[in-house]
């Protein structure tokens, strides 16, 4: 049995090596994507276009607006006169946020009163709108803290009042809050979710299209031999991809790494087996290469970004989102990767995560085995 697997594996490896363009692209494309995302592209929402309608024009309102001018998160693009004008700016996308300061802003604050300002946000990109609202909140909180401190300095002394609640914030795992520390490891997960299944999705359907599948049908190789033999070289390619990305993440990007390289590698091997297996399953189920590729795109590639929890904690998602996330091997590997790079050995080697990934791998191969028929018709 071992010999038959090896024979098929050798044939697949040779076929792969004889198409250097394909093999080269299979390495170059993921690495280029990684470098592009890690270096050139900023995923941070910064420099949001903000317009101000300042009806007060007092030192108070200027100080408030300064909070936006001095923030990296905003770029002041215009001072407008009317609300109608502001609406038009949002409509055309020239501004994402409009701040409307009422005429009595300074007067009310100096009279120790509360005052409301209007914030209008373009909601056509909801997450961007939400982030913009969060940033506005930060600017306002800072301004409020300054107001409160000034007020305490003036009134507090007489009543011996001090600031009631201080928060001490400690940041764990990524103390400098650098986005590369999660983007680059996250890309490792996503890249390995995209390329190995795309490569392996062609494996069986290609033979079916070109008719060489009959060689396999009438060979002594059993279904299991075929699957294992075809998977083997591609798991190796995927694992080499992992090693390259791992080296780049530590060497080029200097990402923090606190876990064990062995645990991460074990996870990567299991993950490679799972993703290659997913591709094989699709390959067994489809009739044309085009259909196989499209199916892989739909079940593996497109959801990889959306559901693996690269940007937001999976624990906070809707029930549907959590269930879909749990059906993706990327979600489990993301936990191993994040544990290894940022959190530490205990988090990385968390038992249920490995169990989830292993279950997934076994399930896809078992399904592929069931679906593969060595008979015509």
């Amino acid at each position: 049995m071992g010999r038959r697997i090896l024979a098929i594996a050798r044939k697949e490896a040779r076929q792969l090596l004889r198409d250097p363009v394909y093999l080269g692209l299979a390495f170059v494309v993921p690495l280029m994507l990684l470098v592009l995302l890690g270096y050139q592209l900023s995923l941070d929402v910064k420099g949001l276009l903000v317009a101000v309608v300042d009806r007060d024009r007092s030192p108070w309102s200027r100080q408030y607006v300064d909070g936006f001018v001095h923030s990296d998160y905003f770029r002041l693009v215009a001072r407008l006169d009317t609300e109608a004008e502001a609406r038009e700016w949002i409509r055309t996308g020239r501004a994402r946020v409009v701040i409307d300061i009422p005429p009595d802003f300074g007067r009310r604050l100096s009279a120790n009163e509360r005052v409301a300002i209007g914030i209008t946000v373009d909601g056509s990109f909801p997450s961007r709108g939400e982030i913009a609202l969060g940033y506005v909140e930060t600017v306002s909180t800072l301004y409020n803290q300054a107001l409160l401190r000034a007020w305490l300095a003036e009134h507090g002394r007489r009543t011996l009042q001090v600031w009631p609640v201080e928060t001490d914030v400690v940041i764990w795992y990524n103390p400098t809050l650098e986005s590369k520390n999660f983007i680059v490891p996250g890309m490792l997960v996503i890249v390995l979710m995209i390329f190995p299944p795309l490569l392996s999705a062609l494996l069986i359907v290609r033979e079916r299209e070109s008719g060489t599948i009959f060689n396999l049908y009438c060979s002594p190789a059993r279904r299991w031999d075929i699957l294992a033999g075809k998977a083997l070289p591609y798991v190796a390619v995927s694992f080499l991809d992992y090693l390259a990305i791992f080296a780049i993440s530590l060497g080029l990007f200097q990402v923090r790494f606190v876990g064990s390289a062995w645990v991460l590698s074990a996870g990567a091997l299991l993950y490679s087996m799972a993703t290659v297996g997913l591709g094989l399953l699709i390959s067994v189920l489809t009739r044309t290469q085009l259909a196989a590729v499209m199916a892989t795109f739909l079940v593996a590639v497109a959801p990889a970004f959306a559901f693996s929890g690269i940007f937001t904690p999976i624990a906070g998602q809707t029930l549907a989102g959590r269930i879909i996330g749990r059906l993706m091997p990327a979600t489990y590997f993301m936990e191993i990767v994040r544990g290894s790079y940022l959190k530490g050995p205990e988090a990385a080697a968390y038992g249920p995560t490995f169990a989830g990934l292993a279950t997934y791998a076994v399930a896809v191969y078992a399904l592929a085995w069931l679906a593969l028929r060595k008979r015509v018709g």
Binding site: I90, I119, E166, P313, K343
Partner: protein, 376 residues
């Protein structure tokens, strides 16, 4: 010429329509996949998981903890001790921990109470936003406590505490319903992806089967051949996109359609033409489908990331913004949201339309040129 073209188009159509599994997958792309990906994990602060270790167990500590609530936060558990707290952060069950010290009640009454917050910084973008909301909650609570103390103090002139409150209004999507956005984005993405794949495969298939030789010796000119490969895709995909916008985006998710569907359809046809030309251009360079897919991804991913749907174009550097202008998808995404969401007419989006059209014509010309060289 018309007769030649018609014969070739008929052949392409029947080849496309005969691959039933592929058609089913295509149907899934514009229905099921739109649904699944609309449930995508939102990148905003929503039900951010919080674990609480309340060592004070007093009314004021409970009052403060109660402010960590929906929509931003969700208390997922109360830890009994340090170990449990660390484990919840380690496993990702919680991303924020709040530790209330034992003397919180007394200190909050008459001096300064300290609240310890441990934030999981591994997803730095969301952690930053969560930190902003924690600061805002603590500040708001401080103001309230001061006002209470102030009210309790006797014999002093009463004054309020000056504070700024924000009244927010969100245009076009007042409740920031994420599915309104993500469902439409998915339709735009599927349109782009399906078009590139279908057109690239239509060409590569001829190569892999060897039937390209028949085409090369036929009287068809390169431009006719490529046009014939594009026609079925341009017919099928925009219709699917339109149906998906009506049935999925508007019907299922209730997204209001404020603009002209005719305009949307017309520009989608142009966009599909541009992306199909790109797909053919790739296919001319590739020897087999595997190669074509890899080249396609090389272009598709940067294009998606630069489309402006991930991050706003203004957050990118000047170089990346310029590169983004060269991507039809960037214009198409902008166009799609402006027209369907904001109800803007051609007067607002003509630049996007001109961009897609110009890029489409350029890509088609390039592909024909490459292919013509192949013929010689």
């Amino acid at each position: 010429m018309i007769a030649r073209l018609r014969a070739m188009v008929r052949k392409e159509f029947s080849q496309l329509l005969r691959d039933v599994p592929m058609l089913l997958i295509l149907a899934w792309a514009f229905t099921g996949a739109v649904y699944v990906n609309s449930q995508r994990m939102s990148s905003e602060l929503q039900n951010y998981p919080v674990v609480v270790l309340d060592l004070a167990g007093s009314p004021s500590s409970r009052e403060l903890v109660a402010r960590f609530r929906a929509p931003y936060f969700k208390v997922v558990g109360y830890a009994a001790g340090d170990d449990e707290l660390v484990r919840m952060l380690d496993t990702g069950a919680a991303s924020l921990a709040i530790v209330v010290p034992p003397d919180f009640e007394r200190r909050a009454r008459d001096s300064t109470a300290r609240l310890q917050v441990i934030s999981d910084g591994s997803q730095s973008m969301i952690a930053t936003i969560a930190g902003a909301h924690v600061a805002s909650i603590a500040n708001g609570y401080s103001v309230e406590l001061l006002e209470r103390r102030w009210a309790g103090a006797v014999g002093l002139r009463r004054t309020g505490i000056p504070q700024v409150e924000t009244r927010t209004r969100v245009e076009y999507n007042p409740n920031l319903v994420n599915t309104w956005f993500s469902a439409l984005l998915e339709v735009l993405n599927q349109t782009t992806m399906a078009t590139m794949l279908l057109s690239a495969a239509a060409m590569v298939r001829e190569r892999e089967y060897g039937t390209i030789e028949h085409l090369l010796v036929s009287p068809l000119r390169p431009v006719e051949l490529l046009a014939a490969k594009i026609v079925p895709v341009v017919t099928l995909v925009p219709l699917a996109a339109l149906a998906s916008v009506l049935v999925m985006v508007h019907g299922l998710f209730g997204t209001p359609i404020r603009g002209s569907l005719v305009l949307f359809y017309a520009v989608t046809v142009v966009h599909v033409f541009a992306m199909a030309s790109l797909g053919l251009g790739i296919a001319v360079l590739a020897r087999n489908l595997g190669q074509a897919i890899m080249m396609l991804l090389l272009i598709l991913y940067p294009m998606q990331i630069l489309s402006g749907a991930f991050t706003p174009p203004e957050s990118q550097g000047a170089f990346m913004r310029t590169v983004g202008q060269l991507s039809p998808l960037r214009h198409y995404v902008d166009f799609g949201y402006q027209v369907l969401f904001k109800g803007n007419g051609l007067a607002y989006v003509w630049q996007d339309v001109a961009g897609i059209l110009a890029l489409g014509l350029a890509l088609f010309t390039l592909s024909v040129r490459r292919f013509a060289r192949l013929v010689r």
